[in-house]
Symmetry: D2
Subunit: 333 residues, 4 copies
């Protein structure tokens, strides 16, 4: 049995609480949050103890692992202290929005041997994963193009936007990680980024973007396109396409049911695709946690580690450089 | 160059006129129709001669072949006279609605050597044909089930209904022939037929049906299902499914374009499928004629002959027997 | 908290045990099975008590409800005794293979007020249910045709076949129930049945069937087609199509992922559909149980009751009469 | 009746000859080509006269219109002379590979009133055109993203490559024009281009590219992505996607038949899509010619004029500038 401290009892913390609790080998021992209402409610639901301090939650002898789902600026501190106390760490993305803080944390944890997993959930989606496996198995031959379409159903509120660190670091960072996952040992070396705030007043107000497009190039010459929007009225649009010398594999969108409608004006009409990440990546969230538990139990290395979190942020930063300068930027990890 | 007489200048005659005219090796020499306006208009369009009589059209030394697209009751006479005069015959389905007249005609032409092709156009549709080839090539293994969905977009007028000979002989006859085409040398031996006039007032008035379902069984035990309707609001629904020990092949519906729409209420929405047989089977009509011309030029046997026309009618008659008696009927050819 | 006795610790009993255990309001108190190994293993897994006798399991004061997943011949006895003891009953399909035993049970329980739900899981599948709702909401206008394709991936072993009561009572019974679910208050009144043992040696040996087709007609004239096979190499083929005056709705097959492959010989290639009912109807099994628990808690009538189980069996019996006589059979409930 | 001179009797000239000949209002009067075998064969097939010189073909009193399908370097001369002689001009794309020659031609014809149409056939494809109409009709709301996937089935030979003017001017130019067609009065203002010769030895040898990706931005902020390959093993991949505030419309790929295969390893498998442009854009080639004839007969302006040809070339040139400099380039028309 693995005992957990859960850092953060907000929206994403609640989701993780449900996942930990449902795992037959895991128990939530402590929950920590600065919001007393949130932490009391969640602790009572899962019969967990409200941690008196973050330090208690991170270093108690009663726990084996820490799941960090608190506000982004707390991530590096919690990673450092938790791993320093010998606890296995699962940390939601991003590690931090500031590469300097990430680098300091990296330095601080360089000798740790506990598993540290970053929450890039899409790597665990069955469809995306099978696409990646098809690429690895050489099914499409030599990879030449990768195309990721990733659009949210609706923009977040202005408070979220203010804290999110910008569209590329908050949203596209998932696609940058997915790109790295699919490319494997072939690193991206260049990026060109475009974007605009075309429709969302909140994004316009905080000088963020709501629409973006990217081209990246890998060392071996693979061309990668990513496009993002903060609003797709038909649902959470998540498509991945790999194209190579022997063919193409697409991980396509998914609808909640397999219904098709035929009327006098249309045929083959399906329902809107899954509304958002909670619905679309339910299996992925569960499986990334199962995988983390396995790493802890088997003392193996996580599939998505601290370096993956750092590298995705470096690409996001290069994307901003390109967007601001109007130039193709060389990416240095 | 093959010179044709065209018997019949109505809707289906006009369509065939266009097909003959477009063929580089063919010319319309005579057109015959009892409706003077129709025949004059069509003859002038294709620079053909208005035949003074059906006999002139059928026996003139100037012609090589006769395309019969006149009213059904004239078919057997025109087949007999035309083939008697040594002309190759292409005759629209059905040969006749009365099996006795068909049998008399069969007797009359038993010694003819000219090609006689019946207009079961669906055998020439590229998709249905590839499905049949997949079956022949043993792609699906041993055939076990065949399912045909065949629904018109809208009911015909009452005048058409009065002359059409009933739903099974007019419409399902195409599906009976398609069944025989796909089964190959395994004849159907039993049939059970259901039907009703559920919505079409004209069908109700003339005691015809607008909705029907059939099960047939072949000698080797293959089960066949056919369903028909006179009104599908989304277009001309034409699907064929073969199922066997190694898999399934479906010849699915077709839309005029490859457009897909995504809105806040639906995804993957395509346009209505092709409206009716003229649009859906354009390629099939053209290719059945090309095939006929090839038979005449190469002196080979047509792919769909007089016996096919007769056998489809025999199945339709057995279907009526089943429908009226509430029993499974043994089919005798 | 609802305490359950689980009758039967075989394959389907194990599946239900997992579902009961996962429900936050439910607990397995007793498990009964004549197979000591099965019952010991399952009881230990869920910390349940091995019932000393079926009577203890059915009548203990410690339990509120009985889930019957034992061999079919025990169903009526367990229903009668359990409901007689005031326990809510969830019973797997079929109630029994013998209509006389079903009628005796019906008589015995006629005054009971406890909820009795029969395990026709497909009614709870999200896609099939939305199709039924679309019909109820008049989306397709007046229903005219219903087509159910229902094919297992592979035949069961001979022991299963010997006890199963025949293809129509074991397998098609689900489709008969689905038909009744979709038709609502319009009862089926006629049936014509065809079948054969085309490929499965075990089915041939026990004089059962492996391939079947049916046409049913409802009081209002709706035509229904069902086709069944015991072996579809591409997976568990489960399709439902409703066709009416204003359009068509299809509940189509489902693949585990949304992957599509494109090669030099094919495009749009998806994975095989779900292998069998455990995978395909996972959500439906869970939701039918949730619904049952709700009925018990809210003291409401189950969505699928004893009469539904009996009526489906009556249709299956009529199907056998038709199959054996070669006649269309009138169905009397 | 419109009498045509056809300039060029090579592959694309032959295709156009067939289209002119099939048009009921058109006749090929002269054919000109420096290759005597080609011109003799084609002239004899269509009973046309072999033009003694290009001047005869362009200026004969017997002709009304000129279809230019000769080598690219001859286009501007033939446009200038033909239109100077008062003939309507249909010219295959591109006008020329050198913007200076295009500008000289533009100056030379600035006072002409004859219709001059450029062969950007894709604007006439029924699916792409309906997508554009959906955008114009505001079906997707405000356009925010446009994504074009355009991949050839196999690379051309080295001789073609040497004369083609580079991947962007030869191939992507179609996508640049399609972009302009869909954007309507909102001009593209920026471009970022990436490319490589990843697999084609001939492209490598002549320092051309076989794989490319682009991002363009319009004045109103619309982001456009284009990706190209010279080799897609599954056929001629031609997809267009428009995304906006109210939804998305996709013009998807097309297969020759509507066959779907199901086996023990795959489902929904379709045939490879159309092999190449001759098959995929057959309807578009025919309709662009019909449209041209209508312009001539009705004395209206062509839907795709000289300026469209010039503007597409200007974008292609900017794309090369971006590719070579690693910078985002401002496009000036």
């Amino acid at each position: 049995m693995l005992n957990f401290s859960l850092m953060g009892a907000g929206r994403i913390g609640k989701m993780h609480a449900g996942i930990i609790d449902a795992h037959p080998d895991c128990k939530i021992k402590f929950i920590y949050d600065i919001n007393k209402d949130f932490v009391n409610e969640l602790s009572s639901k899962y019969a967990a103890t409200v941690a008196a301090s973050s330090d208690e939650a991170l270093a108690s002898d009663d726990i084996d692992a820490v799941l960090i789902a608190s506000a982004t600026p707390t991530h590096t501190e919690f990673i450092t202290k938790g791993s320093g106390a010998g606890k296995a760490i699962f940390c939601e993305k991003p590690i931090d929005l500031d590469i300097n803080k990430v680098n300091e944390c990296r330095e601080a944890i360089k000798n740790t041997t506990v598993p540290i997993q970053i929450g890039f959930n899409r790597r665990f989606d069955n469809s995306h994963r099978k696409l990646q496996q098809a690429k690895v198995a050489n099914e499409i031959g030599k990879l030449e193009m990768l195309i990721i379409t990733s659009r949210d159903p609706e923009p977040p509120g202005i408070d979220y936007l203010k804290a999110a660190g910008g569209f590329f670091r908050d949203t596209t960072i998932h696609d940058f990680d997915l790109t790295r996952f699919i490319l494997g040992d072939d690193p991206v070396v260049q990026i060109s980024a475009f974007g605009d705030a075309l429709f969302d007043k909140n994004s316009q107000q905080v000088k963020d973007l709501d629409t973006a497009m990217f081209i990246l190039k890998s060392k071996k010459g693979v061309l990668i396109h990513i496009n993002n929007s903060r609003r797709a009225v038909y649902g959470y649009d998540q498509r991945v396409e790999v194209f190579g010398s022997k063919g193409m594999v697409i991980s396509n969108n998914q609808t909640p049911t397999s219904l098709e409608r035929y009327t006098n004006t249309s045929t083959n009409e399906k329902e809107p695709i899954h509304f958002f990440f909670i619905e679309r990546y339910e299996q992925a969230y569960r499986d990334q946690f199962n995988e983390f538990v396995k790493c802890v139990e088997d003392k193996t290395k996580p599939l998505v580690g601290f370096e993956d979190g750092r590298n995705a942020l470096i690409i996001a930063n290069a994307a901003y450089q390109s967007f601001e300068s109007g130039k193709v930027i060389d990416i240095k990890f």
